[in-house]
């Protein structure tokens, strides 16, 4: 097939299988590159449907797709999403599966067309040996920027992906990320052992429909008051990010008490059933505001989020860009607001100190790696993953020293973003080494209190009162569930 024929057939598949009329920026180029047989690194901004690239590839070629992803909650959300879209032959292989479930999946592995797996699960010999038996049409590395050793998002498990690719017979590979500087781009291609004819599809990380705002307030009380004012004056729905579950819960209680908004928390303390309920309530406009921690916010798949507010500043600019990217995926005007009290960064500094293992701890676990087996917190898992790569102790210690410095530098960059007087959008593009000059205007960015009316985002009067979420009489619920007369 020539390029035009490929594009025509891809367009047909998009319409027939996914019901979309047009591709989003970068999707067609990525798919064409893959169909032509080139391993591809696609650097596409948040909200541009990166996952559709591999889903459509699978549907187009009828080949098996193995997707490696670092976040279990994200994988679970994507599996749910794909099943809803009618793709039933999809499964996530993660450490969350019970022994029974894992045995069932491994026994039926050949029946799945789309297999999600975490890097750590692929290090399980039994599981990997089963996967090696399969014909993999496309290997996908999601969040590929996690490969960059100096990056704050670095995951040591991602270092083995090159070897995994090799052991799988160097399948056609798609690496996906929303953020990658030229250095990170090189690191990804090198680690994954991309061939010379591999391609890079790069689109700007900029999301012009998201107004960027930073507002400094005096104190936490002032922050809460300002938050209250914002959520009652900006058109929703909205997502508020927190660095702690406890604060997310506190603010839910605060906003529920002070407003008539329908607010809920969304974080790791929720069981799976509650996560399902809250996410779908939000998607179906039964909730106005979600207060989330970052990993869970990323799983919220709602196109018309009008505002994202950061109550706590994130650890780095990369996370910030990913998180505000939840807003305005419908292309409509949206706003990202970061509320900052001088000193807020101390929370992140403390988290960094707590998270980085010290030299004596590294030394101890290096010589007693078996003791890491039952320690499930992220820091120890990080250390364990690193020790598994058979790195030498001096190199391990040196890495953690450098990692601490990199994280500190990344946080400093985030703080510089907060304080900069220059165009915020330009700051971000410069930070990601995008060679572009922003045409700054009144819909671009601002520091200080913003007039949302100028953006057309003032809260509209509801034509009908919104229904609050209330328990009903059980007979009523049963009648509705089973379409019976009440």
């Amino acid at each position: 097939m020539n390029e035009n024929e490929i594009k025509t057939k891809l367009q047909q598949t998009l319409t027939q299988e996914f019901g979309f009329k047009d591709f989003k920026p970068g999707q067609a180029e990525t798919l064409t590159s893959l169909v032509e047989g080139h391993s591809t690194l696609a650097i596409l901004p948040t909200g541009t449907g990166k996952s559709l690239c591999y889903q459509l590839y699978g549907k187009f070629t009828h080949q098996r797709v193995l997707i490696i992803s670092p976040l279990i909650s994200l994988m679970q959300d994507q599996v749910e999403q794909m099943k809803y879209s009618g793709i039933s032959q999809v499964v996530a292989l993660t450490s969350k599966l019970t022994g029974q479930e894992r045995d069932f999946v491994l026994h039926n592995l050949a029946n799945y067309q789309f297999i999600f797996a975490s890097p750590e699960i692929l290090q399980n010999e039994l599981i990997f040996s089963q996967i090696r038996r399969l014909q993999i049409g496309l290997l996908v590395v999601d969040e590929a920027h996690c490969i960059a050793k100096w990056g704050p998002d670095f995951r040591p498990d991602y270092l083995i992906l090159g070897k995994i690719r090799q052991l799988l017979g160097q399948p056609l590979t798609l690496a996906l990320t929303a953020t990658a500087t030229p250095d990170v781009e090189m690191a990804i291609k090198k680690q994954l052992r991309f061939e010379d004819d591999s391609q890079v599809i790069r689109y700007s990380i900029d999301r012009p429909n998201i107004f960027l705002n930073v507002e400094e307030v005096e104190s936490e009380t002032a922050k809460n008051d300002r938050l209250l004012e914002l959520v009652t004056t900006i058109q929703g729905p909205g997502l508020i990010y927190f660095s702690s579950k406890k604060k997310a819960d506190e603010i839910v209680e605060f906003l529920s008490r002070k407003t008539s908004l329908r607010v809920a928390a969304y974080h790791a303390d929720l069981n799976l059933e509650d996560r399902f309920s809250i996410q779908h309530q939000f998607i179906e406009n039964q909730l106005d505001v979600i207060c989330a921690t970052s990993a869970f916010g990323m799983g919220v798949n709602k196109k018309d989020i009008r505002y994202v507010i950061h109550y706590h500043l994130p650890a780095d600019l990369e996370s910030y860009v990913q998180e505000i990217g939840r807003a305005g995926r419908d292309g409509q005007q949206s706003i990202a607001i970061l509320l900052y009290v001088p000193g807020d960064e101390s929370l992140q500094y403390t988290m960094q100190i707590d998270s980085a293992p010290q030299k004596n701890e590294i030394d101890y676990y290096y010589h007693h790696p078996e003791l890491l087996k039952d320690l499930q917190d992220e820091n120890h898992q990080f250390l364990k993953a690193f020790i598994n790569t058979k790195i030498s102790l001096p190199r391990l210690e040196s890495f953690f020293t450098k990692h601490r410095q990199d994280k500190s530098a990344a946080l400093n960059q985030m703080i510089a973003y907060i304080h900069t007087d220059q165009c915020k959008r330009q700051f971000i593009l410069d930070a990601f080494k995008e060679d572009r000059t922003v045409q700054h205007n009144e819909k671009c960015c601002q520091s200080g209190p913003v007039d949302v009316a100028l953006l057309g985002l003032e809260k509209q009067e509801q034509a009908e009162p919104r229904s609050t979420i209330k328990m009903q009489n059980y007979r009523q619920v049963l009648a509705e569930l089973f379409a019976q007369e009440k």
Binding site: Y84, G86, E101, F104, E273, K470, R475, V477, F482, A483
Partner: protein, 346 residues
Amino acid sequence: MTDWHLLHFFDQQQPRKVTVLRQILTNKRTGSTLFWGLRYHYLDYLNAVPRLDVKKFDDAIDGLIAQNWLHSSAQGLQLTSHGQEVLATKQTPYSFAEHPELNQKFDYQLWQAILLLMIQVASEYRYHNSNYYVANQNLKAQFLIKSWLQVNSFETLAAEVSKCLEQFLDQCDPAKADLFTAKLVGHPQNGLSDGQIASQLGICPREVSWTWRDLAFQFAAFVQARSNLKISQLVQVAALPGALTPTIQQTAMLFNAGKTVDQIIQIRRLRRSTIEEHLQVLAIFRPDFPYEKILRESDLKTLAKVYAGTEIDQWRYAELQQQGVEMPFLKFRLYAIMKTHGEINE
């Protein structure tokens, strides 16, 4: 568990070892654990929290002691009068399960998934909708329901599930029935979270979770008792053998058929300690256990004499040896179990 709820497991008169509680909650079924579980009236809570966070549990107990709601001594923990007041004040109808013993009868993780999926599939069927976000990702549950639907119809599922739920909930406390249905997912509804329900009822989210779990188990038992229903097959896959596991039942069969302990050891080729433990477990869970097959009249007289006037909790096997009595541990323990059942029946 929320801290003060743990006070429910303690008594003002009887000191209780907290390790027993921990082991009962996590389904550790050694003869010793089950014996002390019987003494402390914990047996209904076997397997109630299989994935207990031990550190949080221990910290919670320490907290209760620090607040003087529990008193700690070498014999164990006792509820203080202050603790009793706290329990009485804070308790709500949602604080404790009505049928905790059902934790032993069904695999909750699997049953919960089957139940939610069953209801969702039935609901979506009634609305002629096949395109929906699946409420539960448990692969085994999804497979079981798909397999069941290959043999039975969607209409049978919908008819039986809706009717059973109605009949079951009609006999429940109406407020709890409302709580139960609030978490169901189906065509027109996404369910409410524990937090959302808790804030409407003025209780804590944990109590919502426990109440729902308790009702889910009761519904399982309700359906299981109606074996003519096709959906009872879906309950059966989540059924557990209970405290009397297949291996214990085998020992029981031989014992009831008149075989001695030595004969059972030979037939089953198991260690003496294993068979003796089986018999202890049998005696604990079967109040009609035939003690006379092991305890002769002379044994009963000797044991009555050695332990006269002492609380069962204070009995020590070493006392027999100190008094020059040669008697296997099994007899000592069976005697204690028999007397405990006698106390319970008084």
